[in-house]
């Protein structure tokens, strides 16, 4: 790990927060429409109704906030899921959360001809929640309750089922494909600030509670038996973690569509930086997740200007080399 002492970690946390803010201001200033730093400051202090000011206030600002919030949520959800399932490959998309949301949106488009992005938010949140509840129940049946193995398998099965049904609808219905293809790729652009504020309470609750249970997640990661022996109510903790995961990843997918890869990469990257203590991993993962998504989103504007690349594509393109490097270097050294 990179940061070995607690004072170094505090410094790192501060630095990461600073970097996140810097990236957010970059995201506000740089884009297709030429704007300067002065314009950006003026847009908030002395708004004059010019085109640039409107773009900064109503397009760039929501976009920056959404990227930061979604990135942070997905990363934290990934950390919790990997601990909950004791599987380094676990991520929100493997637990049917993205697939459930995608399926709900495709149903809404092809059966009820809804194409309102605002409405997609609630439909996909619902789909994500329903699918994760299914997975959780199926993973919990039986005498010994929720085991990592059963949860993993149930998640993979449900995810495959929803994904294939989504594909089925899209194969039959080409117009729906056209409408949802961009949504399915995941994007943080073209969303209003209201989209974020609608789910922000859920996301914020997820962030706060994930920090509160961080210490207990450390105990859980030592194994079920040890955790029980130390007096931890594992059943309650796992249920709590499950609810937090739904809030975070359901909220994220509702705002930005299914953005893959973040939820699996960031936890690994974070552990390479700060070690395996959840009290540090969770805040760091949140910040790093926000940073990666912001960088990906800024890059997405410049690659093939004036068109935009879906940000889900850019996270993979930027994140993969890092990830391969870290994986080669070894994780827990």
């Amino acid at each position: 790990m990179l940061l070995k002492t607690n004072s170094l970690r505090w410094a790192g946390l501060f630095l990461a927060l600073l970097l996140l803010l810097v990236l957010m201001s970059f995201s506000i200033v740089y884009g297709y429409t030429d704007t300067t730093w002065k314009m950006a400051i003026d847009a908030f202090t002395q708004f004059d109704g010019s085109n640039e000011h409107i773009i900064i206030q109503s397009v760039r600002l929501p976009r920056a906030l959404i990227a930061a919030a979604v990135g942070a949520s997905l990363a934290i959800a990934g950390v919790l899921l990997q601990t909950l399932t004791k599987n380094p490959l676990a991520a929100p998309e493997i637990f049917g959360i993205n697939a459930g949301a995608g399926f709900a949106v495709v149903i809404a488009v092809s059966l009820f001809s809804i194409s309102n992005l605002q409405f997609f938010t609630w439909v996909s949140f619902l789909g994500a929640a329903v699918s994760f509840i299914f997975v959780y129940i199926i993973g919990s049946i039986g005498r010994e309750g929720l085991t990592p193995m059963k949860l993993t398998l149930a998640g993979a099965a449900m995810s495959a089922m929803f994904a294939s049904m989504t594909q089925g609808f899209l194969v039959i219905n080409e117009t729906a494909l056209e409408q949802v293809l961009f949504w399915l790729a995941g994007s943080v652009s073209g969303r209003k600030l209201e989209t974020l504020t609608a789910v922000l309470p859920y996301l914020a609750a997820g962030w706060i509670f994930s920090l509160l249970i961080a210490g207990k997640m450390n105990v859980l990661s030592m194994g079920e038996d040890v955790a029980k022996g130390l007096g931890l109510k594992t059943g309650m903790l796992k249920l709590g973690a499950g609810i937090i995961i739904v809030l975070l990843s359901g909220g994220a997918v509702a705002v930005a569509g299914p953005i893959g890869f973040l939820g699996i990469v960031i936890p690994h990257l974070t552990r390479a930086v700060v070690g395996i203590d959840h009290r540090w991993v969770i805040p760091f993962a949140g910040l790093l997740g926000g940073m990666l998504l912001l960088v990906a989103d800024i890059a997405a504007r410049y690659i093939i200007m004036p068109q935009e690349v879906p940000v889900g594509v850019m996270t993979a393109v930027i994140g993969t080399p890092f990830f391969v490097y870290i994986a080669r270097r070894g994780f827990n050294q």
Partner: protein, 351 residues
């Protein structure tokens, strides 16, 4: 009653145990494969009774029935069977080798590589009217090349004094996401017609299979299958972890490479002709594990048969349920497989 039979062959040179329960499961599954095969052959726009189907197999039946069965239905059903077998066995090997229940052909990027190759193929070799400028017969080759290149890339990137399973799979996931990103990119910016063509391929379908495909796929899959079964006991050892495997005298790295090559070749063949059929490679081995336990001697044949049944049944449903509309088989592998798998999870809940 004894739980195992003892088999000795070639003057006691080769010996193995046969699990009674696994044998029973194996027989039932074989019968189901035959059953689904015959029913699927007889079902479609023109219905043919199972008895007639058997007659046609042995050279009887009317000319019309022979034509329908031999030139339209048999090729695609055989391709479906082979694809199911190949994906399931490859998935089983990968899960054992990587020691992770989530390992599957999709997750380590092999299928993703094939998808990129196919979408790229459609984009490169199409003119303005979306007509292909080269023969569609080159598409399987493109898919196979994509799968093979990605498999080597993943192995190469994961190599550092040998390949550890976790490094292999994590790098595989990274590359898989990259491939998926590239696929999405090309689909979003290409014309919508190509996107929907590509979408059908990614979902996976055995539509339009012909005897030419069968002639390549069947020997390819069967030879690799035999190799896989011979290597099966090495999967058992790999599953114990590197230290124990080395301790009992297995050359871990050599067999890991061999096993990866065999599964890549199996997957490559399957995706070349049927596209990215999901779920089978992931779930068929789990179903088999619930039925026969986790010793690979029994697990691989059982998952092969389950995989074959899944894809054949999915194809049957895909071409009959919404007839005359054809739904790609890949849509239904998960829809029929997942409920059964959840039932199995439920039934074996106390083990």
């Amino acid at each position: 009653m004894k739980k195992y039979y003892n088999m000795r062959l070639f003057g006691e040179k080769v010996s193995f145990l046969i699990d009674r329960r696994a044998l029973m499961v194996f027989l039932i599954l074989t019968a189901s494969v035959a059953g689904v095969f015959i029913i699927s052959t007889g079902t479609g726009e023109m219905k043919i009774s199972p008895l007639k189907v058997l007659q046609v197999f042995f050279g009887g039946g009317s000319d019309m029935e022979r034509l329908v069965i031999q030139s339209f239905r048999l090729p695609r059903i055989i391709v479906a069977l082979m694809v199911g077998i190949a994906l399931a066995v490859a998935g089983g090997i990968l899960q054992g080798m990587i020691r992770n229940p989530l390992a599957s052909p999709d997750i380590i990027g092999i299928t993703g590589g094939a998808s990129v190759a196919v979408v790229g193929f459609l984009a490169l070799f199409s003119d303005e009217n979306n007509a292909l400028t080269v023969s569609i017969n080159w598409m399987p080759l493109a898919a196979f090349a994509g799968a093979a290149i990605v498999a080597f890339l993943v192995y190469f990137l994961a190599y550092k004094d040998g390949v550890s399973p976790i490094r292999l799979v994590l790098i595989g996931i990274g590359i898989a996401s990259l491939m998926k990103a590239l696929t999405t990119l090309m689909m979003v910016f290409g014309p919508i017609y190509q996107a929907s063509q590509a979408n059908i391929w990614i979902t996976g379908t055995v539509y339009g299979s012909n005897w030419g495909n069968v002639a390549i796929l069947v020997p390819w899959t069967l030879i690799l299958l035999i190799v896989a079964f011979i290597l099966a006991r090495n999967v058992n050892i790999q599953e114990l972890g590197d230290d124990i495997a080395t301790g009992v005298g297995s050359t871990v790295q050599k067999y890991r490479f061999l096993l990866l090559m065999v599964s890549t070749a199996l997957i490559g063949g399957a995706v070349a002709f049927a596209g990215g059929i999901g779920f089978v490679g992931l779930m068929a081995p789990h179903m088999a594990r619930r039925l026969v336990g986790s010793a690979f001697g029994a697990l691989l044949p059982a998952s092969a048969l389950i995989g074959g049944i899944l894809v054949m049944a999915a194809d049957l449903i895909g071409r009959t349920l919404f007839s005359p509309l054809e739904i790609p088989a890949g849509v239904f592998t998960a829809s029929i497989g997942a409920p059964y798998f959840i039932y199995l999870l439920f039934r074996t809940r106390n083990t």
